[in-house]
């Protein structure tokens, strides 16, 4: 009997619990990676800044984003499993060349800027660790290229999951700063506006938190990853669980980052960036804790960089028709690997340019991601309502659509608030 015949004869739903666990273990990966990689360098900066400026008062925003991020990514996984194709391929095939190339161009543009922020964080953390950024940044770029170039999806997935596992250190750091448990519970469960009211910087930070938690590259990454791993229809339940665990993990780690920032807030310190925060917290958490924050910054940046670069390379390959799988050797999929290496090299190169406007790029990324997200997510929603292609089993149900149109409406509203703030800088009072 062939393996396929076996897996079809015994669908996962009819397996015992031991087999279900084993089945989950072979299916898990894309959901966990896409979620934990979302806590990249930009996310570390945004969440710690939220804690440093407003204490624990924005924790409720993170709790609200937990179901939102799960619902969006569950759709992505479902699309990937049903079609065996990535999001970019589906936009290209079902909406035509113009929209396909537009989606790819948007993705590549925002991804290159995002990658610059990842390498900027590595340079920043290396500097604080007493290492030479001119050495560490190229080394990181080489390491990131080596990570994908093994010709084995499984090897890449295992190494990336190990990087995801290192995020558990955030739990230790959050415990180490000794958060006010009562305030944490209150601010998580009861939505409130921080002292000082609604200001321009608060609105911008909330938009940044939303934009960081649901990023455009995630929509492209998970469907391509699911397609590359060749997940089967019978794997859908396990893929959903993988995504749910990932969503809980990403929000849990984000809470920990916010609590570390909150420690600086309680000390009355000022926040410039996470690397400066790590040094400022040294009297509270000791040299080891401070170094750990800097290392976690590097880990977040590396994890984000591999995921963001892969989302670009997969999407590029899907639209151009190149062979694009991590199962292929470099010589068998040269354009796919070249696209990945090019993204990494450009971003690392920009960071090494003396006097490069990194701060402008970091702010620009948040705006670009905010602008692009609604367009990427609307294609996802339309594709998941494509009953002609997906049929009743994989297409959205009415309650899915209610949830998703609400999320899309919210994202459009936040983008328009961002736009209004750019046109009218005095729309909200200054902090």
């Amino acid at each position: 009997m062939t393996p396929t015949a076996l897996s079809r004869q015994f669908p996962a739903s009819r397996l015992g619990w031991r087999h279900r666990i084993l089945h989950f273990m072979v299916v898990a990966g894309p959901g966990l990676i896409v979620m934990v990689a979302d806590n990249d360098a930009g996310a570390v900066s945004t969440y710690t800044q939220a804690g440093a400026l407003y204490g624990t008062s924005l924790l409720w925003v993170l709790l609200l984003l937990l179901p939102v991020t799960y619902f969006v990514q569950e759709m992505v996984a479902r699309l990937g499993i049903a079609t065996g194709q990535g999001h970019a391929a589906m936009i290209y095939q079902r909406f035509g060349k113009w929209w396909g190339r537009f989606a790819l161009f948007d993705l590549l543009l925002v991804n290159v800027f995002t990658l610059v922020t990842e390498f900027a964080a590595i340079a920043m953390a290396a500097g604080r660790l007493g290492l030479d950024p001119n050495l560490i940044v190229p080394l990181s770029a080489v390491g990131l290229i080596a990570l994908v170039g093994t010709g084995s999806y499984r090897r890449w997935e295992r190494m990336t999951l190990a990087l995801c596992g290192l995020n558990l250190c955030w739990l230790f750091l959050a415990w180490r700063v000794g958060p006010d448990t009562h305030a944490v519970l209150r601010d998580t469960l009861i939505p409130s506006v921080p002292p000082g009211g609604v200001t321009g910087s608060l609105v911008f930070l909330v938009i940044a938190i939303v934009g960081t938690t649901i990023a455009p590259w995630q929509l492209f990454f998970q469907s391509s990853c699911v397609a590359d791993k060749r997940l089967r229809f019978a794997d859908l339940k396990a893929a959903r669980l993988d995504t749910l665990i990932g969503a809980v993990a990403v929000v849990g780690f984000a809470v920990c980052m916010l609590l570390v920032g909150d420690a600086l807030h309680r000390q009355g310190g000022s926040f410039e960036d996470p690397a400066q925060m790590a040094v400022a917290l040294r009297p509270l958490i000791g040299g080891t804790g401070s170094t750990l924050i800097l290392l976690m910054m590097c880990n977040a940046a590396l994890l984000g960089a591999t995921a963001v670069s892969l989302s670009s390379a997969w999407a590029w390959g899907e639209v151009m028709g190149w062979r694009n799988t991590l199962q292929a050797k470099i010589s068998d999929a040269p354009k796919f690997y070249a696209a990945y290496a090019l993204c990494v090299a450009i971003a690392a190169g920009v960071v090494l340019i003396p006097g490069a406007p990194l701060q402008t790029i970091i702010v620009g990324v948040q705006v670009l991601a905010g602008v692009m997200l609604p367009s990427a997510i609307i294609f996802l929603q339309l594709l998941l309502n494509d009953r002609e292609m997906l049929g009743p089993r994989f297409a959205n149900r009415p309650w899915n659509n209610w949830v998703n149109w609400t999320v899309i409406g919210l994202l459009f509203a936040l983008s328009l608030v961002l736009a209004a703030q750019v046109i009218l800088p005095d729309l909200f009072p200054a902090a």
């Binding site: 897996s7 397996l15 194709q85």
Partner: protein
């Protein structure tokens, strides 16, 4: 029933990459999506949104 007997009666777990490819729901014969009124409206709204964002960028560039 011993565990060994149980295992023999259940399928072994096959990693997706070791399994034979299954036929997916998308095939090239499907072509472009049918443009229902809801799809048309969504794409129209998206065009409007993108136009607004381009104007915004232009506003900022002129302002600078």
């Amino acid at each position: 029933m011993s565990d060994a007997t149980l295992d023999l009666r259940l399928p072994r777990i096959v990693h997706p990459l070791d399994d034979l490819p299954e036929e997916k729901l998308y095939h090239s014969g499907l072509g472009r999506m049918t443009l229902t009124p809801a799809v048309r409206l969504s794409l129209f709204a998206l065009r409007g949104y993108l136009g607004l964002m381009i104007l915004l960028v232009a506003w900022r560039v002129i302002g600078l």
